[in-house]
Symmetry: C2
């Protein structure tokens, strides 16, 4: 029984292909999501279907797997049963790979004003907010409101925050300059807030500095040591070196941290501060070697004592290890121990801008970006859209276009337009229109 | 001032390129929609962004146009003013091209149970309903519920209904057979209900018959003379030759008719039964030669007395005529009269299945389908995705895949899963899984 069809759960199900096991994979959505490219959907570069594929479709030729759309509400590790909205289920081996959600560090009320980026629906919501802010700015004649509509704040200097900030700045640079009449891209402010002293802290110091330089070259204002103390629908308050600073912004995005899905508490096992289940070297919980916990919902320590990062390759490796462990157990052999193989990491910043680190080797700029592109296209494995996505990117690169600038899901009445001051004077407007 | 960025409004704005006129185009959405392919989004064949393009983007190099995201709530033709949620606006010439909405013929309560297909959000909603019904059917052990979940009713035998019914049947034929374990495509019933004695009545009788044959070959049950008397969340009741027949179906789609957007009433001009504004040969309303009404919101009679159909080419032609009329008036010349040029019509039914009529010439089957493909790819003009869409189609044709099978917007709790009986016995389930 596998809970979750992300990188960890899917790798485990695939690792059990042909095994003498009946596998059930349950997920709340019908699709596996290529999360590393989710920011591209939020920034109107790709369509949801480019980076999401039905779990059924990925596993369709694996006869020993069944896929269940549903949500797990309770786990009884003693009785080996689960409660789901599709009824009760039993298991011999349980693999919990339910993933993470946004962590507002005790300020869950910030969630409404500052959405995070975890699901396709989140990405569509963020896309709508950003595009509506630009539309409202194009209409309003109220200078202060206009400034707030054109200020975009991204909280968190990790890979997600950096990607969002970079992509936001590019969206404004190329698209607004081209399609909008009144908003000029110079008016748009993208601010990246980081509470600590640097961004991209999983990279070497030189690459951190390079990341800041590359972001600034794209027009992003990077503010370190900026601790967020309040977020509401009108902006953010930060504590910057003891002084309280207010930033008026209609759009605030959250990329500052994640915590485990709440189902982690149902296992009765020790968890860390983020609610992640602490697992041993075999990725099981104490006292229950039939319960594996992997992916972003697990706190995994590598054989050499270092914490394993919450990235897609680590999740896939853990999923494959669990499949091997279950096969070994069925065959009456000892289980393997998890060793994380760090193949290096890449963070993209924008067009021709990225940082990459492979062991002691560091890259930045165009070369890192090309590597990032190659790796991400390569790992869209199982996605029939791999080539379509590649073509889209080539097209974007050559044309500076964004392909998926759709506002769907309604206009979110009351979010922006209630404050957008009426376009009072059509006559005044007309003076600005050339050609007459 | 142009209300609506559909085929009519957009053609008018484009027709005014370079004219000594300041053009404002206002729309409730930020995108122009290639409506003839909307059913492909509903049936998971294409992504929304493949068939929708920002209005700003289409008109970005036309200096005399500004694009406004907003909704018109009132029109005063005497004062030449509009009320919008972005404030009041004035005009010299008004072009009303606000389009149509679903017509439930006095049963607006049917709308919730039987959604129609007019917007991207409608298409995403229909996609979600269809995919969720299949997922629920895969889980349930209640035979009656399973039958209702696997029965899809499409109401209306016009082009929209035929396209939806054909595409639904294909979705089940190729995808369900491949990715689902318990649902077999033979269990799926797609029923097309038509109140009149035939379908596709705008085509010649031979083509109508061919359309029925092609639908039946795809597995669609076509029921003519079936008048719908009730629709609720559990199914449809029809009056079939005097007898009341009940069809239990969890998914009911509406393609039976459209009526004008309500803003049509604000003009104070005569309207037809569907609320369409009756316009003269110059496409203006009586007594106001500065107010043009075009597209699906208008009831247009051709110079030879025939009603002009509510199709994309007619809307574009009317838009271009209005642009010419405005140019003529500015230049002090007489206005042209509208003559609809019927270039023929095509309706697609499915893979290699379609009907087409060009004057006296009729086509059906593979040739009609190839023509339909060619015309639709050709007319995705202005869509940078034209070639991407073409590639997707070639891919679908070769692989029998559907590219965009995503359930987004949440699980619609209470719509399906409250009735899906629990998957009571996992043990029983396991017997069916091979490989163990």
């Amino acid at each position: 029984m596998i809970i979750g069809g992300g990188f960890a759960g899917l790798a485990c199900a695939q690792g059990l292909a042909g095994a003498k096991a009946r596998v059930t994979i349950v997920d709340r959505t019908n699709h596996h999501l290529f999360q590393p490219l989710l920011y591209q959907v939020a920034m109107a570069g790709l369509s949801p279907a480019d980076i999401a594929v039905p779990i059924r479709s990925v596993l369709h030729d694996q006869d020993n797997v069944r896929v269940l759309l549903g949500e797990v509400s309770a786990i009884d590790v003693a009785a080996k049963t689960l409660e789901t909205n599709a009824g009760p289920l039993t298991y011999d081996y349980l693999v919990v790979a339910a993933g993470a959600r946004n962590n507002y560090f005790g300020h869950d009320d910030w969630g409404k004003a500052a959405p995070g980026l975890k699901t396709i629906d989140d990405a569509i919501d963020i896309r709508r907010r950003v595009l509506l802010a630009l539309e409202a700015a194009e209409q309003t004649t109220d200078a202060a409101l206009r400034r707030a509509l054109l200020t975009f704040v991204v909280i968190g200097g990790g890979a997600t925050g950096v990607e969002l900030a970079g992509a936001l700045s590019e969206l404004s640079r190329y698209i607004v300059a081209r399609d909008f009449r009144h908003v000029r891209h110079g008016e748009i402010k993208v601010i990246l807030l980081e509470g600590g002293p640097s961004i991209l802290t999983t990279f070497k110091p030189e690459l951190q500095k390079s990341g800041i330089r590359q972001l600034e070259a794209l027009g992003v204002e990077v503010r370190m040591n900026a601790k967020v103390t309040a977020i509401d629908h009108d902006g953010v308050t930060i504590d910057s070196g003891g002084a309280s600073v207010r930033i008026d912004a209609e759009t605030v995005l959250w990329g500052a941290g994640v915590k485990a899905q709440p189902i982690s508490a149902a296992l009765g096992a020790p968890t860390d501060r983020g609610g992640r289940v602490i697992v041993g070297k075999e990725l099981t919980i104490p006292g229950h070697d039939d319960v594996f916990v992997i992916g972003d919902i697990a706190a995994i320590t590598d054989a050499d004592g270092k914490p394993v990062p919450g990235v897609a390759p680590a999740a896939s490796q853990a999923g494959r290890l669990v499949a091997k462990a279950i096969r070994a157990t069925i065959a009456g052999k000892p289980r393997p121990v998890f060793r994380y193989l760090d193949k290096g990491s890449l963070a993209t910043i924008g067009r021709s801008a990225a940082v990459g680190q492979f062991g002691k080797l560091g890259f930045s700029g165009f070369i890192a970006w090309m590597l990032w592109m190659a790796v991400h296209v390569l790992f869209l494995v199982g996605f029939r859209n791999r080539y379509v996505v590649m073509l889209e990117w080539i097209w974007h690169y050559l044309s500076f276009q964004r392909g998926a600038r759709l506002i769907t899901g309604g206009m979110v009445p009351g979010t922006f337009f209630h404050r957008a001051a009426p376009d009072a004077s059509v006559a005044e407007e007309r003076k600005k229109v050339p050609g007459t």
